[in-house]
Structure formats: structure tokens, C-alpha cells
């Protein structure tokens, strides 16, 4: 219990001092996870929309696999990305291992199925409502997808935020492909693991509280900017 209080204390003293290391690792955490979510949304939103308006032979298996991929184990994804970008591997020449780019790639792989799958689930319901209208208007598949994506934007925002939640708190993959290098690839989660390893629980907890605060802040900011959950739109 005392350690929890000490952790809160450490979190505040780091924040008040605006510790430069803290700012660096926090901004890298945000940079990596937000970029990964952005890329994953660019891939996952259209793919999810396409799945909900398309009917094809193996649709059911495709959806089942996509849903299963939401639970991809981060350590395995990290290991695969590591093996792909290791110097002895096909993509080794890009020299991407132990860079934020490699971390973004790993997190994109983790987040894309989440966004795609949640998008599909949200838009499938909408598609039932809009089906007759869109068919009668003779809308092309692309127009149908666009309409659904626009009408379902609130739900899709939640899908993207879920993906962000997965990314910002993730450690298994980025530890392997990023390497937790000080001033280069150290982010909040890997810094926390390092402090736990040193037995420095208060600082680890402090960093943890800051991580949670950032996640809350991002979610609130998105809701305020997108004007959801306001009075009158309840």
C-alpha cells in the first residue's frame, strides 16, 4: 500500500519537474502508437467496410480468422518482425531493427485486425438498415462502403481507440523489435519493465500512472474534438 502511494508521489514529482527523459519516452510512446493506429485505421477501416458489404464464398472463415487475429500474441508478432528485419534476413538491408519504425510496424500488425474486425461488426448492423436504400439507389460498392463508414463514424472512433489502447500499453512486441535503447527506442512500457527489473517499484508505478493518464487524455481529447457523448447527443 505504501508503495502505491510512493508511486503516485513519484508520478507527480516526475510531472512537476517535467523530467526531460519522461517527456522523451512519453512522446515516443505516443508517436509510435498513434502512427501505428493511423496506419492500421487506413488499412482496417476500408477492409472492415468491404467485408460488411461483400458476400463471397469464404466470408465466414475470413471473419472468423480476422476475429481470432484480434488476439495475436504480441511476443510472437515481435519475434516474427524481428526475424524479418534482422540483418541476416530478407528485409535486413533496410536497417530497421531497433528503430521506432520497426516498433510501428509490429504494432500496426497487432492493431489492424482489431480495427478491421470492430469496423466490420459496427458496419454490419448499419448495413442491415441501409441495405434496401443503398441497393435501390443503385450505389456502387465503393459508394456503399463510403456511406457506411461515414454513418458509422462514432463506432469506428471507438474501434480506433480500442486499437490505440492495445498499442499504447503493449510491451511484448516493441521490447523485441525496439530493444528498449535509451534515447532511441525506450517507451513508457519498456521503461516500466526496466524499473521493475531494478526493483524500483515506486518509479515503475509512477511511469505506469503517467501511461494511464496519457491513455485517458487521448480518449477524452478524441471525444471532445469529435463532439461525441455531449449533452443532446446522448
Amino acid at each position: 500500500m505504501n508503495e502505491l502511494l510512493a508511486g503516485i508521489g513519484d508520478a507527480f514529482s516526475l510531472l512537476i519537474a517535467l523530467d526531460p527523459d519522461l517527456l522523451e519516452i512519453s512522446s515516443l510512446s505516443l508517436q509510435v502508437s498513434l502512427t501505428a493506429v493511423l496506419i492500421a485505421a487506413v488499412i482496417g477501416l476500408p477492409f472492415g467496410a468491404w467485408l460488411s458489404v461483400s458476400r463471397f464464398r469464404y466470408r465466414r472463415s475470413a471473419i472468423a480468422i480476422l476475429n481470432a487475429l484480434m488476439g495475436l500474441p504480441p511476443v510472437v508478432v515481435g519475434l516474427i518482425v524481428y526475424l524479418l528485419f534482422s540483418r541476416s534476413s530478407p528485409f535486413g538491408v533496410f536497417n530497421l531493427l531497433f528503430t521506432p519504425t520497426a516498433m510501428i510496424i509490429a504494432q500496426t500488425i497487432l492493431v489492424t485486425p482489431i480495427i478491421a474486425s470492430l469496423t466490420h461488426q459496427t458496419l454490419r448492423e448499419l448495413w442491415f438498415q441501409y441495405h434496401d436504400l443503398l441497393i435501390s439507389m443503385n450505389a456502387s460498392k465503393w459508394q456503399r462502403m463510403k456511406t457506411l463508414l461515414w454513418e458509422g463514424r462514432r463506432g469506428l472512433l471507438t474501434a480506433s481507440l480500442t486499437g490505440f489502447g492495445r498499442a499504447i500499453g503493449e510491451i511484448g512486441a516493441i521490447m523485441i523489435v525496439g530493444g528498449n535503447i535509451d534515447h532511441l527506442t525506450r517507451v513508457l512500457t519498456t521503461a516500466i519493465a526496466l524499473e521493475v527489473g531494478k526493483g524500483n517499484f515506486p518509479l515503475a508505478l509512477g511511469l505506469g500512472f503517467i501511461l494511464i493518464a496519457i491513455a485517458i487524455f487521448i480518449n477524452m481529447a478524441v471525444h471532445i474534438l469529435s463532439k461525441t457523448e455531449r449533452e443532446g447527443t446522448w
Partner: protein, 271 residues
């Protein structure tokens, strides 16, 4: 498509990583890093050589693996046999001894196995085993883990056959293993540096040290340019020369935690 992918990767990489005058990647063991010595040495290296050393903190097993694949430029590890095999196989041109520290046995402050008054490490380990007190093993193929297994073997035991009721391989780094030991109030083999810097000691106490066999030699191995032409050999050798220089060796000797010297420099003038 492939080309676009490649181009975007390179652009992304350019955006994300700052340009350094000169840098290299060095994999070090957790025990070295947790001691805090790297935080003292590396800023000096930066000042003297204008060389930024990116440190990857891993176990000796993973460090050797990273070097074998050419993902780092050099490694600083402590497992002599594995290092010699590594050089034999041509993954590194040579190993250069830098310094040593020592392993210690840590355990419950009441010391129910009475290892504090033993004459040698074999007797201490035998007492822990026959007392049935919990013992935490790293179990992660790291240098410290390999050392621990070899100590049991020298004492006439085979850790693989130990009952898991008291012998617990946790498969984790030094810090995590120490956390487990302090939570279970168990015995554990650790290096002195990690122990002195460890902040979650609870009831644990330093109980046994000093047997010569517990000395722990750290060596520096640059990665072979024959196997991996892209590795930064020049920088790796610059760093080696700095570590083995009189200034580097002096800084290692003068490094203290709570008044205690941790590392004894012992680099010879040529590899």
C-alpha cells in the same frame, strides 16, 4: 508495390531516427547494465570519441544470438566457454577481457540453511539443497544462469533433476529473479552490482561471497565483418580501445556503489 513499400520504410526510418555523427549498437548483459556502470562510462565515451553507443540490455544468450545474426556491432558478456565457441565459429575475430566482478549468494536474513559460515561455495550450495529452502534460478540461459548451473555441477549436483518444490527456475532477467527471490524470501545467486543496486531487498541479505570460483570475467567481442560486412568495425574497435585504455580501466576501478568497488579492470594491453 514492393518499391513503394521499401521507399516508405526508408522515409519512415529517416523521420523517426535522428542523425548521429557516429554511433554503434552494443548488447550488454543485464548484470552489467543494472550495476549502473554503463551510465558512468558511456557519457565519457561520447565526450572522448564523439561516439554514441546504443545499449541493448539482454541476457548473454540473447546477446550472442544478436551478434551471430549481425544485429549489433559488438557485445560485452560474461560466459567464457560460450564466448570461446563463438570465436571458434568465426562470428567474432577475438574476445578481449575487460574486467571482472564477483557472484554472491543472497538469501533470507535469518539464513536457515546456515551458508554464511561455510568455507567454500560447494558446501554453501550443499547446505541450501539439504535444507530444502527455496532457491531461485534465473533459468534463462544467461551468463549468470550458466554460472549457477556450473557451480551446482562442481558441487556434484544436476540442477535439472532438482525438485521444483524448492528449486525454481523463473526464466527471467536478474532484476525480475531478484524480485521473485525477495517475494519468496529465497536464496539466489546474483552478481554483486545487481545486488547493491537492487531496491526491493525486503528480508534478503548478502550471505556468501569470496570463493575464487565466483569471479566473473567480462569480455568484449566485436562482431566479425567477414560474416557481416555491414557491422561498424571501426566504431567497435574505437570503443574497445577506450574501454581498455588507462582512462577507461581507471574509471572502471573507481566505480563505487555505497562505497564498494564493483569491478576489477584486467584488460591486457593487446587482445
Amino acid at each position: 508495390m514492393k518499391r513503394i513499400f521499401a521507399a516508405s520504410l526508408i522515409i519512415l526510418n529517416g523521420l523517426c531516427s535522428a542523425a548521429f555523427a557516429s554511433d554503434m549498437k552494443l548488447a550488454v548483459t543485464t548484470s552489467f547494465h543494472n550495476s549502473g556502470l554503463s551510465a558512468i562510462l558511456l557519457p565519457e565515451v561520447k565526450k572522448d570519441l564523439d561516439l554514441t553507443v546504443h545499449v541493448l540490455v539482454v541476457g548473454t544468450g540473447q546477446a550472442l544470438n544478436l551478434a551471430r545474426r549481425g544485429d549489433v556491432d559488438a557485445i560485452l558478456v560474461h560466459s567464457k566457454k560460450a564466448e570461446q565457441r563463438f570465436v571458434q565459429k568465426g562470428f567474432s575475430p577475438y574476445r578481449r577481457e575487460i574486467m571482472y566482478n564477483d557472484f554472491v549468494l543472497v538469501g533470507p536474513s535469518l539464513d536457515p540453511a546456515l551458508i554464511g559460515r561455510t568455507g567454500n561455495i560447494g558446501e554453501a550450495l550443499t547446505r541450501i539443497k539439504s535444507s530444502g529452502q527455496p532457491f531461485i534460478s534465473r533459468g534463462d540461459d544467461s551468463g549468470t544462469h550458466r554460472k549457477e548451473v556450473s557451480l551446482w555441477k562442481i558441487s556434484g549436483f544436476t540442477p535439472k533433476k532438482f525438485s521444483k518444490h524448492w528449486y525454481k527456475p523463473v526464466g527471467a532477467g536478474m532484476g525480475a529473479a531478484l524480485n521473485t527471490a525477495s517475494a519468496m524470501n529465497a536464496y539466489i545467486l546474483t552478481d554483486r552490482g545487481s545486488w547493491l543496486n537492487f531496491k526491493n531487498k525486503q528480508e534478503l541479505k548478502l550471505l556468501y561471497w569470496g570463493d575464487e570460483i565466483l569471479y566473473n570475467q567480462y569480455s568484449y567481442l566485436p562482431v566479425s565483418t567477414e560474416k557481416h560486412p555491414h557491422v561498424k568495425m571501426t566504431e567497435a574497435i574505437e570503443l574497445e580501445n577506450w574501454l581498455t585504455s588507462s582512462k577507461g580501466q581507471k574509471m572502471i576501478a573507481e566505480f563505487r556503489i555505497k562505497g564498494e568497488q564493483l569491478f576489477v579492470p584486467n584488460a591486457k594491453s593487446s587482445p
